[in-house]
Structures are given as C-alpha cells and as structure tokens.
Amino acid sequence: MTVIVDLGCANLASVGYALERLGVPFKISRDASEISAADRIILPGVGSASFSARQLDSRELRAVLVKATQPILGVCLGMQLLYETSEEGDAICLGLLSGMVTRLEVSAVETWPHMGWSRLRQTRNDSRLLSGIDDGAYAYFVHGFCCPIDDATVGEAEYGARFAAAVEKDNVFGCQFHPERSSAMGAKILKNFLEVPC
C-alpha cells in the first residue's frame, strides 16, 4: 500500500485525489508503524520548512523516514525536506539527499515566490521518474525556496536562477513542482513513481 504522510499540509487531499484518479489504493497516515510498513511513501508539503520539520519531530516520523528503504517521493516542500537543511526557518531536514535548500533569488522584474507553469528541462536520459515525459514540458510550481542542482538532479527549471526541479537517487525521488496539479504530465510522473519496483 502507498502511504501519504500526513504532516498537516494543505495539499494532502489533492495528492490523494491524484492517486484516486490513477486508481491506486492509498492511505493517508501520520502513524510511524503504518508508514514504515508502506510499499511506497509520498511526502507532500505546502507551508514552511520549519513548521513541517517540527511536525516530523512531534509526530515521531523522522526516524522512520530516514531509515526508509522503500521508494519515497517528496512533493514541493516534501522534496525540500529530503535535503539536510533549509534556510527557511533554519530547519533541520531529513538528510536523505545532501545539500541545503536556499531562498530562490529573483531579479527585480520577477515576483517572489515562483508561481505558475514553467518548463521542466531534463538533465539525464535515464530518469525513472521522468520516463515518457517530453523535455521542456510545463509543470506547475509554487515555491519560494529551492534545491541545489547536483548529481541527483534529473530535471531543472529556471526562475531567477536554475534549480533542481526533479531528483532521484536510489529509492529517493522528489518533485519541486506539484504533479497532482500539473495536468497529464504530472499524472504520468506519479504513475512512474508508483511503478518503481519496491
């Protein structure tokens, strides 16, 4: 069973509906043992990194997620939580991916945060997450902080600066955009994640 981790975030329902549309059974849970027994874990997130990091601690989920060996997908803030730390409220995150989440630097003509449909440029051709997705396809983004481009990056986007928009490393996957709100391309990405062998 796929488990969506309940961090008290606003997009919990939307991620669930996206799985429903794919006909995939899932459970929304904040229970450590249920999450640890899941076949796949989705970590959604909207809000601030420090608030969510506190949720990880108060719900005693940090240890479970750090030890997870099953496929895990972080969405938006959920992806940022996969890194070591975030500048947003100096949050200590999960450290499943190395590096630090920083504030998105925008130019004078751009508004902060980044909100809207931007192109996802693929940086590798062996991505499991982005398989079957056109290079440059539009994805829906809403974020003010961003993840560094490194060897885990499989897709990047640009707003003010370039940043990692899709990542994968072993069992760890992340999307800075909202696949649940990115039309057919988002549905395909969720489907790809759900088809990763576990």
């Binding site: 909207v46 751009e110 809403v142 974020h143 990115s182």
Partner: protein, 255 residues
C-alpha cells in the same frame, strides 16, 4: 518567466454556474463539475470558482462542492466568495482548493490578509479587487456580487493594491468594472496603472470578447494571467484555439 495563464472563472450561485452582465441578471450556464472538467480538458491553466452567493449573504454556506471539483481537476484552482476568517479559509483548503481569494471581507477588515498569509503562506492568498474608472480616479467597489449591496468604498484602487501586497497577499486579480461583461477588451489603462505599483503576479479580469483582447493585455500590460467567463462558457472562444493564437503571437503559453 512562467507561461501566461488562461483562467476561466466560474461564478457559482446556489451550487450552479451562472453569468450576468455587469454583475446583474444572472442566468444558469451549467454544472460546476462538468464545466471544471471541460476546462481541464481544453487546457485551462487554472480555474477560479467564485461563490457569488457566499460573498454577500451573511451565512455559513455549504462548500463541500469544492471537494467534488478537487477530485476531477489536475490543474490548480482557487475559490472565492464569503471567506471572512482563517477557519473558513482552512475548510476550503482542506476540501482541496489550492488558493483562496478574498475581496469584500478584506476591505471590511484588511488584517484578514495578514492572518491568512501568516497561517497558509502568501502563495495561496489571492486578493480580488473590483475597481471602476470614475473619470477622476480608479475606485474600489465592494459587494459587487449583489446589485442591491454593491457600492463604492471611495478608496483608491492604487492605494489598496499597495496595502494588499504589504499585508502579504500572493496575487491580485483586478476586475475592471467598466469593461466587465461588455466584451470590448480588457481595461488596459487601469491594469497598466495597477501593474506599475504591483510587485505581485497580476491577473486581468473583465472585458474579454475576442482572442485579440488576450494578446493585447499580455503585450501591453505585463499580467501573469487573463481571466474570463462568458466567452469561454458560451464556447465562442475555445481555449485550445485561443492558446494556439497566443502562441503564434509569440506569447509564452502552455500548449
């Protein structure tokens, strides 16, 4: 920059989609879920659902229809109308709305914007502004969903735009009342004046009647999106045709 957004707006009254001319004489145009699905399939970038009953009637309204929409939509959508408290906003977001949009209640109590932004983040707080060019100034109006209550606040739209962004809104929808429902094009003059002081994404509303009007507003005013209702509902301008046309005009659009 992100692609320019094409945003159909569904005015909801007593659970069905309606449309009036200059905010009056509302007639039923269809079912919420059916229309939301249609716009999803046609390539809308976002949908706004504006509950015009909720905004003017002082009562708790049933918003469970939001979850019916959230189930079928795979694009973002905002809900507007009747949101006067953090609790009312939370309910709508829990039902699956991506953004909440406030208008008259923000004019009644501007601190509501600060409260909502602090609790949910600026990215999901949209402020709608109804403004009329009275010849001397652009003036903000309130309760425009109800012709009997609709009134001028006497407040300058430009000053209100400044205040709204200082208080933490994440986006502004400017509905220009002179052009609304008239289909002669967006009010470039008012929108350009707002754009000059607005540091947030600005969405144009009111007046779209032809494909050229969309190209015009994107080219003349740096708006992030353009909102329209009747021309989409009637099928007069199919969204796929509009998007292909804008693409040919070299406007960045998601096809």
């Amino acid at each position: 920059m992100p692609a320019r957004r094409i945003i159909p707006c569904l005015d909801v009254r007593d659970g069905v989609v309606v449309k009036g001319v200059k905010f009056r004489n509302h007639r039923v145009v269809g079912d919420i879920v059916e229309l939301a699905e249609r716009y999803r399939d046609e390539g809308a970038d976002e949908i706004v659902l504006y509950d015009i009953t909720a905004s003017t009637e002082d009562r708790g309204v049933d918003v469970s229809w939001i979850s019916r929409v959230a189930r079928v939509l795979d694009i973002p959508f905002a809900v507007a109308g009747g949101i006067r408290s953090v609790e009312q906003a939370a309910r709508r977001l829990e039902f699956g709305a991506d953004k909440i949009s406030i208008n008259s209640p923000a004019l009644e109590r501007p601190g509501l914007i600060d409260e909502l932004a602090a609790r949910f983040g600026s990215q999901c707080i949209v402020v709608g502004i109804d403004s009329r060019n009275d010849g001397a100034d652009f003036v903000t109006h309130q309760y425009t969903g109800n012709p009997d209550k609709s009134r001028s606040t006497g407040r300058s739209m430009i000053e209100w735009v400044r205040e709204v962004q200082d208080r933490g809104a994440g986006e502004i929808v400017l509905n220009c009342m002179n052009s609304d429902g008239v289909r002669e094009g967006y009010d470039i003059e008012q929108l350009a004046a707002a754009r000059e002081v607005c540091t947030l994404p600005l969405i144009a509303s009111g007046g779209a009647g032809a494909k050229e009007h969309f190209a015009d507003v994107f080219e003349k005013v740096d708006v992030s999106g353009a909102l329209a209702a009747s021309i989409f509902h009637s099928g007069e301008i199919p969204i796929p045709d509009l998007k292909r046309y804008l693409d040919q005009c070299k406007i960045e659009i998601r096809l």
